[in-house]
């Protein structure tokens, strides 16, 4: 008999444990959900912050979901859960450019508005592009151009080899350098992958410095990579290497400035991106979004011009990349 009681206890334990979860899913206000790329990325947490602020303004409940691993499979599982919960809109930073299409289509068929932000995927009704792929690539190439003084060796330290955003920017940078003779004597020595992990990014950065003694600039189109690279340069000041790329001001506060490792860097306000994502969902649900080429005014009374995107058909640009220099870095460090 004692064993039976033990068994019932085990079951109750599980039920009790789970019941203490934070609240049921069926509150009356409509729910907008946001899905990040993975669970531990400060850029993503700022984007979620923006998304939540916008949701409060619109008067809907915001719901943040992050997958266990940075993979498309986990994101698909989350989308299915959200559809089952009957959320009204989903904003997703896709881990794969194609894999989510069928699942998103199943959601949109059910009238759920699905937008992508930060990194795009097929099937999305609208890509909230923080800054055009070409614009980002252009600013990165120009920074390298400026920091090398027009010619010299430079390398790229990217996130993981499967990161859709970074790969798109790298392709665009290659195209820009090939088309314009101005960049002819820039020598792109190598592209290495830090997998968005401090240790691997540091190792790859150190290897670059050893393999290419007269390397002048390392361009890091990822917030994790740029911080690791800046730290390596700061730790051996006489290496004479400059860091360019995209970084969070709060992270890079000690490393950005004229005499510092990273003269200047670019990024955009992830909070704006999150914010804009929420309003896009509202706009789609209200049927305001027309075809490519037209424009509309969202509830945050800013007008957006719809341009053709790839792989999502429609995309809007939140704004040009923002430049952080020694002067304005401290001011923005508090914001994000």
């Amino acid at each position: 008999m004692k064993k039976l009681i033990a068994m019932l206890l085990a079951v109750l334990m599980i039920v009790g444990l789970a019941a203490c979860g934070n609240g049921g899913g069926s509150s009356d206000k409509p729910v907008y959900a946001i899905i990040c790329k993975d669970a531990s990325n400060p850029y993503m947490s700022r984007m979620v912050q923006g998304f939540k602020e916008a949701c409060d303004a619109i008067g809907v409940t915001a719901l943040e979901k992050s997958p266990e691993t940075t993979s498309a499979e986990d994101q698909i599982a989350i989308i299915n859960d959200l559809v089952a919960q009957g959320v009204k809109g989903i904003a997703i930073a896709a881990n794969d450019a194609a894999a989510l299409e069928a699942t998103i289509k199943a959601a949109t068929d059910k009238g759920i508005a699905v937008v992508t932000l930060d990194s795009d995927t097929a099937g999305s009704q609208m890509f909230v592009n923080q800054a055009g792929v070409k614009e980002v690539a252009q600013v990165l190439v120009d920074s390298v151009m400026d920091m090398t003084g027009g010619e010299g060796e430079f390398a790229v330290l990217s996130a993981s080899s499967t990161a859709t955003n970074q790969n798109a920017w790298i392709e665009a940078m290659k195209a820009i350098i090939k088309d314009d003779a101005k960049y002819a004597n820039l020598k792109w020595v190598e592209t290495v992958y830090g997998d968005d992990e401090s240790q691997k990014s540091t190792d790859e950065m150190q290897n670059l410095m050893t393999k290419y003694p007269n390397l002048e600039v390392v361009c890091c189109p990822t917030t994790v990579g740029v911080l690791a690279a800046a730290q390596v340069v700061a730790n051996n000041p006489d290496c004479g290497i400059k860091i360019a790329g995209l970084g969070l001001p709060s992270e890079m506060k000690d490393y950005v400035g004229d005499d510092k490792a990273c003269p200047y860097m670019y990024l955009w306000n992830p909070i704006d991106v999150g914010n804009c994502g929420a309003y896009m969902i509202k706009a789609i649900l209200d049927g305001k979004v027309g075809d490519v080429g037209t424009s509309f005014t969202a509830d945050n009374n800013t007008t957006y011009e719809i341009t053709a995107g790839d792989p999502a058909e429609k995309q809007i640009i939140v704004g040009p990349p923002f430049k952080f220099t020694g002067e304005n870095i401290n001011e923005w460090a508090g914001v994000y």
Partner: protein
């Protein structure tokens, strides 16, 4: 009767001695090949210091794993223990509760040893198979790391200056972290060779039944070994966070695989009773050299993973072939 050839080799006896000297030979050969292939870029002061600094924490972890393997156990949760102890220490530093670096190191070690003792009790008193106990606890510790940090990072500017500078500092030309490795190696060598408890670990691993009859309390030895292993993982957590000056949720993900490989290459047998501190030091250094030099030698990023797996497999096969020959030679030695 067989006459053992120990007399000619001086104090140390046969087989164990020869495996470590052959491993040293392989390592030296490896360094020479890398030096030649990388055009002399490997054996420079900067690369060696980087190598000793970046891989100090895996070397330290390998000594902890040596103890666990010696008693015939296994621990695949050391990556998660490292992350939990490193993250909790960094969080307390960010909130200003821990103000001096030494206290931070001690706190991290304490958290690690708590995790280790939980594993020890589950395996010894709970009679759970080591691979399954550490698999389950790996999920729990990794989940706690994210839970404790609320999936956010601890940025570098929130870390104590003294804590970060410790990792960069050096003493008598050697990096501080590498000093920890040296001290750990000496301590482990003395502990395993000259202390009573050290010998008991070999006894429990070599012949558990005989050890039990002769009055050694097996459960106590197991709990002690796993607790020490946890404490070492805690120390490695502090070393990792001070070295990379940030604390991420996914740090040291998969570190346990490299550490097990280092021990196996270092001649430690997975069934217990066989292995030495010197062998593990060589094994860990070999793994560090391989990981560090792959990109230096111009093997492109995409071959690295495949090559690393191949090298582990080859090292394991060589170990078995050496053992088989020794057994066959012993058989042929018997006069019939």
């Amino acid at each position: 009767m067989i006459q053992t050839k120990s007399k000619s080799l001086g104090k140390f006896s046969g087989l164990l001695r020869s495996r470590e000297s052959s491993l040293l030979l392989v390592m030296i050969l490896l360094v020479l090949v890398i030096q030649w292939r990388s055009g002399g870029a490997f054996l420079t002061k900067t690369v060696i210091t980087q190598l000793t600094q970046n891989y100090a924490y895996t070397m330290v972890l390998s000594f902890g794993m040596l103890l666990v393997l010696l008693i015939g156990g296994i621990d695949i949760s050391i990556g998660a223990t490292l992350a939990l102890s490193g993250m909790s220490t960094s969080l307390l530093m960010a909130d200003g509760i821990i103000t001096n670096p030494l206290l931070a190191f001690l706190f991290s070690i304490v958290v690690g040893s708590i995790c280790g003792s939980v594993i020890g009790v589950t395996i010894s008193k709970g009679k759970v198979i080591p691979i399954i106990a550490t698999l389950g606890l790996q999920y729990i510790f990794r989940g706690l790391t994210y839970l404790v940090s609320g999936t956010k990072w601890v940025p570098s500017d929130k870390m104590l200056a003294g804590y970060k500078s410790f990792a960069q500092g050096s003493f008598l030309g050697l990096n501080n972290l590498f000093w920890i490795v040296i001290i750990m190696f000496v301590a482990m060598f003395v502990f395993l060779k000259w202390t009573n408890f050290g010998r008991q670990i070999y006894e429990v691993g070599s012949n558990p039944e005989a050890a039990k009859i002769s009055g050694i309390r097996i459960d106590r030895v197991k709990i002690a070994v796993y607790t020490i292993n946890g404490a070492i993982a805690g120390l490695a957590g502090a070393m990792y966070t001070s070295m990379y000056a940030t604390a991420q949720g996914n740090m040291a993900n998969g570190a346990e695989m490299d550490v097990i490989a280092a021990c196996v290459i270092g001649g430690v047998s997975l069934d217990g009773g066989q292995g030495s501190a010197f062998g593990v030091l060589l094994g860990a250094t070999t793994i560090a050299i391989i990981s560090k030099s792959l990109s230096l030698v111009g093997i492109d990023a995409f071959w690295q993973q495949a090559l690393k797996g191949g090298i582990i497999a080859v090292a394991v096969l060589i170990n078995v072939i050496v053992q088989r020959n020794a057994a066959r030679r012993a058989l042929e030695g018997r006069e019939i």
